[in-house]
Amino acid sequence: MKILTTVKKVVDVELTIRVESGAIVEEGLQYVMNAWDENAVEASVQLKENNGAETTLVSIGGGDDNTQIIRRGYAMGIDNGIQVDDPQLAGADSFVLARVLQKVYETGSYDLVVTGKQAQDTDNGQTGIILAENLGIPCVSNVVAIDVIDDKLIKVTRLGDGGKEIVELKLPALVTVSDSINEPRLPQMRGLMMAKKKKIEVMDLAALGTSFAEVGGSGNRSEILEFSRSQAREAGKKFEGDAAQITAQVVDLLMNEAKVL
């Protein structure tokens, strides 16, 4: 089985994000692998370990941070890495990114595409589903388990609104994974050392055999006009001391001040 895993570089959400004049302040930001893509990498590597598979990772984006993220994928056990680095793609929306990923998909004969359920910076949760729709391959999102039945069929478990949905997918197919699917492994020293030496295939749109026009680059369907800080909730009153006393105080405030009891 050949698996294509999509991985995005995102800002570290645990750090403070500053916004000035409608834009996010670059200074002080750090970039990491999107958490849900770590789950996607882990799921792909587990399939390789348990069932035998060749794993390829693709990331659209440039810079040294992105290289580091692909190396992290290698250290977790991914076999091949493709980096699509083209300055024209700055600001590309999900539909354009999905077209670029489609080009990558079409260069290999993949059986399964694994994406994160959403990217931590956009929180969109669209790119994988759009890719599957454009490719016309079966797709299940929010997947928490993948079982291989044979080389043409997998069984996945999806967390849906009414419970767990068990779905059989004919390959080639695409799944987007939930963070509940696994606990991503921490790369070990040895893996990290080996990852440093491994080749990354870096391509721009031309090398991919496509163009900005073909991936719909100038036709972004949405564009971010500005960012603002979300209205942070203020810390309210904090009570310490005798449990009975402070609890009584809070109950009283809930009744008479907040009027929610």
Binding site: K117, I129, P138, C139, G162, G163, V167, S180, L254, A258
Partner: protein, 320 residues
Amino acid sequence: MAKVLVIADIKRGEVKRSTAELLAKARTLGAETAVVAIGNNLEALIPDLVSVGSGSQYIADDPGLELFSAGPYASCVVDAASQFGADQIWFASTESSKAVAPRVAARLAVACATDITDVASTGGNIEITRPAIANKVIQRVKINSEKLVAVVRAGAFPMTDEGTAGSENVIRLSAPPTDLGAVIKELIADASGDIDLGDAAIVVSVGRGVKDQKGIDLVKGLADDLGAGFGTSRAMVDSGLMGHNKQVGQTGKIVAPKLYIAVGISGAIQHLSGMTGSQVIVAVNNDPEAPIFNVADYGIVGDLFEVVPILREQIKSIKR
């Protein structure tokens, strides 16, 4: 704003309040409205679909739609949208919506915006507002396509009145082709009978601080006393102590109740992004530095095993 199609949010044979909320918002924007309902045995729901305020009702009622499948559901939405001539297609924030909306947008070749908190349309230009980066920032986004598919964040469009009934104009949709590539084998349904977190006016949530089942039972008791929905953090779901459908947060449910009580929850950013829309937040935690206190209106620093029984007693005595 011309025509808004709202996808009816139906759970366990009931039209959820979010459907009325989305229709009310569409009306305040001066739009003509329609709903599309997808499922099996929907006939009895038609009066409800009218009373939540829709101008037309597109009904895709077929045994093949009993279980959720994103492809066929998307076909039904696309069918209704084309028949109605929808300019905007709005989904309430559910797991199914998140799976269907991008497909609909891809098929119609229009923009897709998830988790929106507002939408405005002036002179044919659509603009939406949505949080991103786990709620740390707000994006103002211009939509370049003429039409929009949007998933509305839970609680974003609260009803300001009881709503207005719509008018009955039922259009039946033909059954979509089944997805032969993705075959639903089974639904392992969540235990029923609990208060739906999305509907609850009060939500009490329990975190890893409770340690075990005894701790859970204690906090569940508080939820029951208050007639509240019972939620949890991912740590509890991971440990197997609580079901997935109870998880509040970025990958769980987004809730915006009148009162949210977090017991033994640290307040990780992914949890906060699911509950900071609540009107009033109370936190019980024995660590005065726990981040949950940064968002709590009322923080009780203390051992939950001591605090919760007292809280229950005091709430019982005021209810008497």
